[in-house]
């Protein structure tokens, strides 16, 4: 490892030594808050070249000696033009002033070309302001809901927490918040995400062409950055809405040196509903809420050293209490993370970031059944599952000259999996179900990638990532017979003993060829492996789903994706369009075997009940976006096909994936009517989800048994919905801002299918038996009002 690093650095330094150039570097910030801007543009007018700021707002550009006119810009900010005479390395920090309301058709110089100029493809970046402009569900602005409006990214439908990128499963998306992995990004089965928009600065999603610095998942990366906190003034921001209240406080600890941000959100649906539930209702005593807490501290020691501490904790809590029945159930689940990052500039062209992370996801069920007569506590049942990671990551960015941006580094993760730990107590008797065994694994990776501007027309990105995964003991493998019934053997692994070892070599490449000033074509290839799987017992994604490591029986998932695209801007870059086609092959996917049940892993391994298979997906994505002006928005349309092949399902014939979707259309728009009023709308249409339904029935021992049709062979009705919202700013000064948001979800009250179930009545043997099909829909038309404030 050391030798590798040394050689790399040496080579890079040698390259740069041959080019006698000077470097201009620095940070680009928001003038008012001092917050760094991610992805801001630096454009050298005379050379028609440029760069963008990285995730920390840092940029570096090496140019030959000379006089330059440099434009710094970012959407929603006034651009700054600076003339410099470059004869030595220069540090240039720039503060941009935001244009809060876009009243005229602003022309942005540098940024406009990013989508066609960059070698990156299949990547979409959304500043939180764009997200906030769209209608919010029940008044809650949501990042996850918004990304699902982009082509190639599918919502699974109401009541499902995952999202699906280009035919990949919900576990194949790497979701990171300030570098820390978030394992379950959903509250209330996906109705809300765990990301409180007030605490978020920016997000970027890669659907393909993933650069080498990202790994560990095979479908996509959603990289979310929290705000750092206002470096200049104290700021309070929040909202009181129909179902939740939010408050964010940020400000300087030491002006221009250190700042903090604290953000909290809690829903109170339970408190609102409870008084209206009658005492006789079976829902009496049930409650549900979720909350989130975000914290960020950052300290700038100098322009060369900076420290960030980010923390998140959030939980969903479902509870049900019945005094009469002596029943008390409490089900909390949620994520926590802590990330410490150190930015260091070795030189103006050599940027380093060191990250330390602890990340955790837990699901727990506590049940207590005891009536007043039970002196000994009655029956108690506790179930735990989850995953915890400790993470160390080192990233370097080296920019020897404007032609090359080289990123390299490595990471190490220690995973602790709690597959399904159950304990029960009946009065004084404790049942140890022998399921407390955790699973442990080491995951390491090194990578290098270079973004190489060969000439004005061609940019090439090449990268490679090498990763290893090692599951270690203590671990007990229960070896099953062919019927999965009897344990014919057990293999016990001692502490630190290797249970399974896997490695992977992952090439990544992409290329851009400019056709003219306004258009380019791009192509990309990526191959990744993923060492952890999400095992879902159900046909939908639930918080009970288990994260399981690769083991002696479970192989890593692998994905290989090819994509090509055509990118073009119109009308002085006010409009941007793209068409992308992709083909993706997936290997070693897992599913539970037919009819597996929770509890199968008691004195057993959950992965003994897995079946394995492959899959593929291909599709065509169209995107048209109006970027600037009073009227903004986009249309995204995806045509795709996704199938799976499992030898144990339908005799190995391909079957449609749960989220196979031929058509997926999203339409978003927002319109700034005047300084006080703005309006927005979202319309979505998607082919119905697939499901498996019984096609026949027969009787055994007096019970009616279902005979199922082919897997996922039934398609439910299409999903479509229109949301609208209107925002009224009733007061806006430099010090105080107050606005009202009125939104309507599902305007025309479409009853979108959530699931179909069958209801039976009567008795077969006397000829009175009847089957009915019922379709359950979740949300009808839902109006909401939220009051937002900022001071």
């Amino acid at each position: 490892m050391k030798k590798f690093l040394f050689l790399t650095i040496y080579t890079l330094l040698t390259i740069s030594a041959f080019n006698q150039k000077y470097t201009i570097s620095g940070y680009i910030k928001d003038k008012k808050s001092g917050e760094e801007i991610i992805g801001a543009n630096i454009f050298v007018k005379n050379l028609n070249t440029g760069t963008t700021t990285n995730a920390y707002g840092f940029y570096s550009l090496s140019l030959p000696k000379g006089k330059y006119s440099i434009v710094f810009s970012f959407l929603g900010y006034k651009e700054e033009e600076v003339n410099i005479d470059l004869s030595s390395n220069q540090n240039l920090n720039i503060s941009l002033e935001s244009t809060a309301i876009i009243t005229t058709e602003v022309v942005v110089t540098g940024e406009k070309k990013q989508n066609i100029e960059s070698s990156k493809m299949s990547v979409i970046k959304l500043p939180v302001e764009t997200i906030k402009a769209l209608p919010a569900f029940m008044g809650e602005v949501d990042i996850m809901k918004t990304i699902q409006l982009l082509p190639g990214i599918q919502a699974a439908g109401e009541g499902n927490s995952g999202f699906y990128v280009r035919g990949g499963g919900p576990d194949q998306n790497l979701i990171i918040l300030d570098e820390a992995t978030i394992y379950n990004a959903a509250h209330l089965f996906g109705f809300f995400s765990v990301f409180n928009a007030d605490a978020i600065k920016d997000m970027e999603i890669y659907k393909g062409g993933m650069p080498a610095e990202y790994g560990g998942r095979i479908s996509s990366v959603l990289d979310i950055s929290m705000k750092n906190g206002n470096m200049k003034n104290y700021e309070f921001e929040g909202g009181i809405g129909t179902i939740a209240t939010r408050l964010t406080v940020q400000g300087p600890i030491k002006k221009d040196t250190a700042s903090f941000l604290v953000s909290a959100r809690r829903t109170y649906l339970d408190l609102l509903i409870n008084p209206f539930i009658s005492d006789s209702s079976r829902f009496k005593g049930s409650g549900y809420h979720f909350y989130d807490l975000n914290l960020k501290l950052n300290y700038r020691f100098s322009d060369k050293n900076r420290l960030f501490l980010s923390a998140y904790y959030g939980e969903d809590v479902f509870s049900f209490k019945s005094k009469e029945a002596g029943f008390d159930m409490n089900i909390p689940w949620g994520n926590g993370m802590l990330s410490l990052r150190w930015n260091h500039l070795y030189s103006s062209r050599f940027f380093s970031n060191t990250t330390l992370v602890a990340s955790d996801y837990k699901f727990r069920t506590n049940v207590k059944m005891a009536d007043e007569n039970d002196q000994n506590g009655g029956f108690q049942f506790i179930q735990n599952s989850g995953i915890r990671d400790y993470y160390l990551k080192q990233d370097f960015t080296f920019i020897p000259n404007p032609k090359h941006t080289i990123k390299f580094g490595g990471s190490y993760i220690f995973h602790i999996f709690t597959p399904n730990s159950v304990s029960a107590k009946f009065n004084d008797i404790v049942y140890d179900l022998n399921t407390k065994a955790k699973q442990y694994a080491h995951e390491t990776a090194i990578y290098i990638g270079d973004d190489f501007k060969i000439n004005k027309k061609i940019t090439l990105y090449g990268g490679i990532r090498a990763a290893t995964f090692n599951q270690i003991g203590p671990f007990t493998r229960y070896v099953k017979d062919e019927f999965l019934l009897t344990n014919i053997d057990t293999i016990v692994y001692g502490k630190s003993e290797s249970v399974a070892f896997y490695w992977s070599l992952e090439p990544r490449a992409s290329m851009k060829i400019s056709l003219d000033q306004n258009s380019s074509i791009k192509a990309s290839f990526m191959q990744n492996k993923q060492f952890i799987h999400l095992a879902s017992l159900s046909a939908s994604t639930l918080p009970t789903d288990l994260w399981v490591p690769c083991s002696d029986v479970v192989k890593p998932q692998m994905g290989r994706q090819y994509a090509v695209g055509y990118f073009r801007n119109f009308f002085k870059d006010h409009y941007e369009t793209s068409v992308e086609a992709y083909y993706k092959k997936l290997f070693n996917l897992i599913e539970y075997a037919d009819g597996a049940l929770p509890g199968d892993d008691v004195a057993d391994n959950a992965d003994n009940y897995f079946i394995f298979g492959d899959g593929y997906s291909y599709g065509l994505e169209f995107f048209l976006k109006k970027r600037t002006g009073r009227f903004t928005g986009w249309i995204g349309y995806t045509w795709s096909k996704t199938e799976r092949t499992f030898p144990d399902v339908d005799n190995g014939e391909p079957f449609p994936a749960k989220y196979d979707r031929r058509h997926d259309l999203s339409l978003t728009s927002s319109y700034q009517i005047n300084e006080k009023w703005s309006a927005s709308m979202v319309f979505v249409y998607a082919t119905g989800n697939t499901t498996t339904l019984p096609i026949g029935r027969y009787m055994i021992d007096g019970e009616i048994i279902n005979e199922y049709g082919r897997r996922n062979s039934y398609r439910m009705d299409p999903y479509h919905r229109l949301d609208i919202s209107v925002t009224y700013i009733n007061k806006k000064t430099d010090r105080w801002e107050s606005s009202w948001n009125f939104s309507v979800y599902n305007v025309y009250n479409r009853k979108n299918p959530f699931f179909i179930y069958f209801y039976r009545s009567g008795t077969v043997t006397d000829g009175t038996y009847i089957n009915y099909a019922k379709q359950v829909s979740l949300f009808p038309i839902l109006p909401a009002i939220t009051w937002n404030f900022k001071f």
Binding site: F189, L485, S540, G595, I756, G767
Partner: protein, 314 residues
């Protein structure tokens, strides 16, 4: 217990979601027709002749009236059913039994024996079906305990105990017959009637509480529809004066796999979040559902003399 909890958790969560705004409506779904198949329910026990019931499946939304039900039963000379033990052949004869579908077939020559291997052949409508099973070693019930209710000591449930053999991989089922009410052995109302020694191998195993058995198709749906009007304990518990037979049967792995997949199908049926579970039939040949099982059955017959004494009858 755990299965019950998981299901109720899900039910509650879903109920809650619907409570906060969801709705449901009747829809018509256009399903393909199921291929015609027969369902075989066949077993053989020590010292008894083989018993075979044959019925037909139906497409999911096929109307169910008395004619359809009658037509679904294969009886009389409609099918030819043969059992052999490797040496002898027994052509089963049509017979009437005290449980649905009432019409079935019964052996007259070969009685089951511990460790015996038996082949079944069924010929129906130009189709041919076959299966093989064996009767495992019989394991006796060691003791029976009558558990009185704290609130009414003339009523109670039973618990039974037996010693599991040293080798792992023993599979059991428990069925009961109340001589006052039933002419057949039924699964107890509460709980899953099969179990294995995965956790308790080579130790004293127990099954309980054993409630009264139920003939599901006759009463079950009515019973479930009228839960509120029925005195639970009256129907489910045993009372003083009852004479009960408790049957502990051993079975082979394939048979246990059949029953566990059968339970999985029942538990997951109607649960839209569960993966569908198909029942693993051991009937081969043309496509068919059902089972051919050899049970190593041990029966304990008991009489509840008083609240403190039970008598084991020969």
């Amino acid at each position: 217990m755990k299965r019950l909890l998981n299901f109720s958790t899900l039910t509650l969560i879903i109920s809650f979601l619907i409570l906060i705004g969801g709705c449901e409506k009747d829809i018509s779904v256009d399903l393909p027709r199921a291929d015609e198949k027969i369902t075989v329910e066949a077993f053989i026990e020590p010292d008894s002749f083989a018993v075979v019931f044959i019925t037909k499946n139906a497409s999911y939304f096929d109307p169910v009236d008395t004619i359809a039900v009658a037509n679904s039963i294969i009886k009389g000379n409609q099918a030819l059913v043969i059992v052999d033990d490797g040496n002898n052949i027994d052509t089963l004869i049509p017979a009437i039994f005290p449980r649905w579908p009432y019409h079935g077939y019964k052996g007259t020559k070969i009685k089951g024996q511990e460790n015996g291997i038996y082949n079944l052949k069924v010929f129906w409508n130009n189709h041919e079906y076959f299966a093989t099973t064996s009767i495992p070693k019989i394991i006796p019930i060691d003791s029976i305990k009558f558990d009185k209710f704290s609130f009414n000591d003339s009523l109670g449930f039973f618990n039974i105990f037996w010693k599991d053999p040293i080798e792992i991989g023993n599979y059991y089922s428990v069925t009961v017959r109340n001589h006052k009410r039933h002419q057949w052995f039924y699964r107890p109302f509460f709980g899953i009637h099969i179990l294995d020694d995965k956790i308790d191998n080579n130790s004293t195993m127990f099954y309980g509480p054993i409630s009264q058995g139920y003939e599901r198709n006759a009463y079950y749906n009515d019973f479930m529809d009228n839960l509120e009007n029925i005195e639970f304990v009256d129907i489910l518990a045993y009372r003083i004066g009852d004479t009960i037979s408790i049957k502990l049967s051993t079975m082979d792995k394939m048979s246990f796999q059949f029953w566990s997949s059968w339970y999985r199908n029942l538990i997951t049926a109607g649960n839209p979040f569960a993966n569908p579970a198909s029942v693993k039939s051991n009937i081969q040949g043309d496509p068919a559902n059902g089972y051919w099982i050899g049970y190593g059955s041990y029966i304990s017959k008991i009489h509840i003399v008083s609240k403190d004494s039970i008598e084991v009858l020969p």
